[in-house]
């Protein structure tokens, strides 16, 4: 405790030098804390942003159903995500299916999974939305189509939805949304009634009437998607006599970084299913991860510089105090006692710097969002973060940045303190400035 007292004296009576070496730690800790707050704030806001902008990240299918195309594969039109590669799974099935009107065999080849699986998935942590879907071939006004049975509310949560050009999305049974290509071919529009059936119409198969509530654009006039229609899940189930089953379940996570964890949880809690992810997931995760790494690196470099500053001023101070150290050793201070005195000094510098840096960092983190509107629109971050700088003060971040500050002070003091304790007293006493 007395070595601490001597350290306190030494620091308080050499104020300029002390402030100089503390300021290095303050800058480092402040930067780390502000950057961590920015990183937390940003990942919170980007997570929200990405969640609404991005389609489901996980597709759960029967494990015997080929999923070569992954997420982009044969799911549904989700805005611009409609890559040509996405249809390889569909094409594969299509050619394999062969003869009787392609689509029928295409869907016939898809094995189903229990609809109740979606309840199980909903119960998993990190799951944001779950959309079960049953796809099948069918006929609208005797024209062959792909029927997608979905649950309107979960579909809109788990996916980016359809780009409806006319009318609205379906809300209940008996309603249908048609692709614009089919609608044009059939000459139907919003408000018209169409006849839906599982096969060509005949005297025994008269089908059922559906009201066209909306027309959507698939973005492509070729491929299976250009011949698709959306109706209520239960409608497809009753038309195809497949009650209680679905062909796929689309899952969106609360945070892109959780995708892989959720995938393995799905596969371990359900049997006979495959959970696959698309390539877009990887880029989402790496965006927020690289942003965080970028922030940490800047802060780390600042703190490292602060640490070198402390080492530097400590060494200078020790060289200046060579005779003092020699005197201490001469009058009976053990090496360990000298070590403790100088180590206490750097510990104090680290602790004071950490405390002051944390206070400054908290203040800046709190006021930064108010200034961000003026700087973010022009800065590089502005574009990256969608025009806003969000900060979020987290207790663990404050503790982490303070801990790093103290750690740097301690590490920076090791070498100077060792150097002081190893001075030979006889030579240190001869030393003249």
């Amino acid at each position: 405790m007395s070595s601490m007292n001597m350290a306190v004296r030494s620091l308080t009576r050499r104020k300029t030098r002390t402030i100089l070496s503390i300021s290095g730690i303050i800058v480092g800790v402040t930067m780390i804390l502000v950057l961590l707050s920015l990183s937390s704030g940003t990942s919170a806001s980007t997570t929200n942003l990405l969640r609404s902008a991005v389609t489901a990240q996980i597709t759960v299918t029967n494990s015997s159903t080929p999923t070569l195309g992954g997420l982009g594969g044969f799911t549904r039109p989700s805005g611009g995500n409609f890559g040509s590669g996405g249809f390889s799974g569909g094409n594969f099935n299509f050619t394999r299916g062969g003869t009787s009107g392609g689509f029928a065999s295409f869907f016939g080849a898809s094995d189903t999974i229990p609809q109740s699986d979606s309840n199980t998935i909903e119960g998993l942590s990190g799951v944001y939305a779950v959309s079960p879907q049953l796809s099948a071939s069918g006929y609208v006004d005797n024209s062959s189509v792909l029927l997608y049975g979905i649950n309107p509310s979960s579909f809109s949560q788990a996916t980016t939805g359809l780009s409806i050009s006319n009318g609205t999305m379906i809300t209940t049974t008996g309603q249908i949304v048609l692709n614009n290509v089919i609608a044009d071919n059939l000459g139907v529009t919003v408000g018209d009634t169409v006849v839906l059936s599982n096969n060509t119409l005949s005297t025994t198969n008269t089908g059922a009437n559906y009201t066209v509530v909306g027309i959507f654009n698939a973005g492509s006039t070729f491929g299976p998607e250009s011949r698709s229609a959306y109706i209520e899940l239960s409608d497809v189930q009753s038309i195809t006599n497949k009650t209680g089953v679905v062909t796929e379940i689309d899952v969106k996570t609360t945070n892109p970084s959780l995708v892989h964890k959720v995938v393995s949880e799905i596969e371990s809690s359900l049997s006979g299913v495959t959970a696959s992810t698309g390539s877009s997931v990887a880029s989402e995760v790496s965006l927020s991860a690289s942003l965080a790494i970028f922030f940490i690196v800047i802060g780390g470099v600042a703190l490292l510089a602060g640490g070198f500053g402390v080492t530097n001023t400590m060494i200078m101070s020790i060289n200046e105090r060579t005779r003092e150290i020699g005197t201490l050793r001469a009058i009976g201070a053990q090496k360990s006692q000298v070590l403790r005195i100088f180590f206490s000094e750097s510990l104090l510098i680290g602790a004071l710097g950490a405390a002051a840096g944390a206070i400054l960092g908290i203040i800046i983190s709190l006021i930064l969002p108010y200034f961000s509107s003026s700087i973010s629109s022009s800065g590089a971050f502005g574009g990256l973060l969608g025009g806003r700088l969000a900060t979020s003060l987290v207790a663990s971040n404050i503790l982490l940045s303070m801990g790093l500050g103290v750690l740097v002070g301690v590490l920076a003091g090791i070498y100077p303190a060792l150097r002081a304790s190893r001075m030979k007293p006889e030579e240190a006493l001869r030393y003249v400035q």
Binding site: R13, R323, E324, G332, A333, E426, L429
Partner: protein, 249 residues
């Protein structure tokens, strides 16, 4: 217990500088009794500081024997030598060497702090010691706020802190004017009278020499002459005060 507090026999100390060996001390024999004030004089580079350091446990001899207060210093490990310095010797330096960031009283407390003396006790003793050296009025001043003579008196108080049997001074008046030097020497003689503390003082200063009971003169690492107080007084009577320098060189 013998009355010899310091017993040096055939002492030798070499410094190695690359290929060269500098014999700083060579075949030194000396004894100092308890309560004596002994001077060491000699030209620059003759080995005075080296001898004082060996006696004070700061430097180890490369040959011969040295015993202080019954302890054979050549046999002590580094840690024990430090412990020896803390309890058995006090140091006074030419440039006082007070810790610049500590006040007078805090400086006097340092050796007691290192020895683990509790705060109230060491504060009480530090006050007493500062009173003895006449510095109690200035106890809260920093070294930079004190004159050289005042700083040296604080240093004497610090040297006395752990009640060592012996105090070693390397040119204690070297940086002082003659008035302060006289005052310091008076203090040293009073301390010897009151506490039986032994002093060994390396010096060039006639004021110090006059206050010594005995003086060793060394040259090139060897003791060449030894004077008693009677010799000094006799010399002073016959030659006049100014020529004391001649005796020393």
């Amino acid at each position: 217990m013998s009355s010899e507090l310091v017993q040096v026999t055939d002492l030798e100390r070499n410094y190695k500088r690359g290929k060269f060996k500098i014999a700083a001390l060579n075949a030194i024999d000396l004894t100092v009794k308890k309560g004596e004030i002994v001077g060491i004089v000699g030209p620059s580079g003759s080995g005075k500081t080296t001898l004082l350091n060996v006696i004070g446990g700061l430097g180890k001899p490369t040959g011969g024997h040295i015993a202080v207060d019954g302890e054979d210093l050549s046999e002590l490990a580094d840690k024990d030598l430090t412990h020896f310095r803390l309890h058995k010797v006090g140091f006074i330096f030419q440039f006082y060497n007070l810790i610049s960031t500590l006040s007078a009283i805090e400086n006097v407390e340092v050796p007691m702090t290192l020895a683990g003396v509790p705060k109230p006790e060491r504060e009480k003793r530090a006050r007493e010691l500062l009173a003895i050296v006449g510095m109690e009025q200035r106890m809260n001043h920093l070294p930079s706020q004190l004159s050289g003579g005042e700083q040296q008196r604080v240093a004497v108080a610090r040297a006395l802190a752990n009640r060592p049997p012996i105090i070693l001074g390397d040119e204690p008046t070297g940086d002082l004017d003659s008035k302060s030097a006289k005052k310091l020497m008076e203090l040293i003689r009073n301390l010897r009278k009151d506490t039986k503390t032994t002093f060994i003082l390396v010096t060039h200063d006639p004021i110090v020499v006059e206050g010594c009971d005995r003086v060793y003169s060394i040259r090139d690492g060897k003791i060449t002459k030894e004077f008693t107080q009677t010799d000094i007084n006799h010399f002073k009577m016959s030659q006049g005060k100014d020529s004391l320098e001649e005796l020393l060189v």
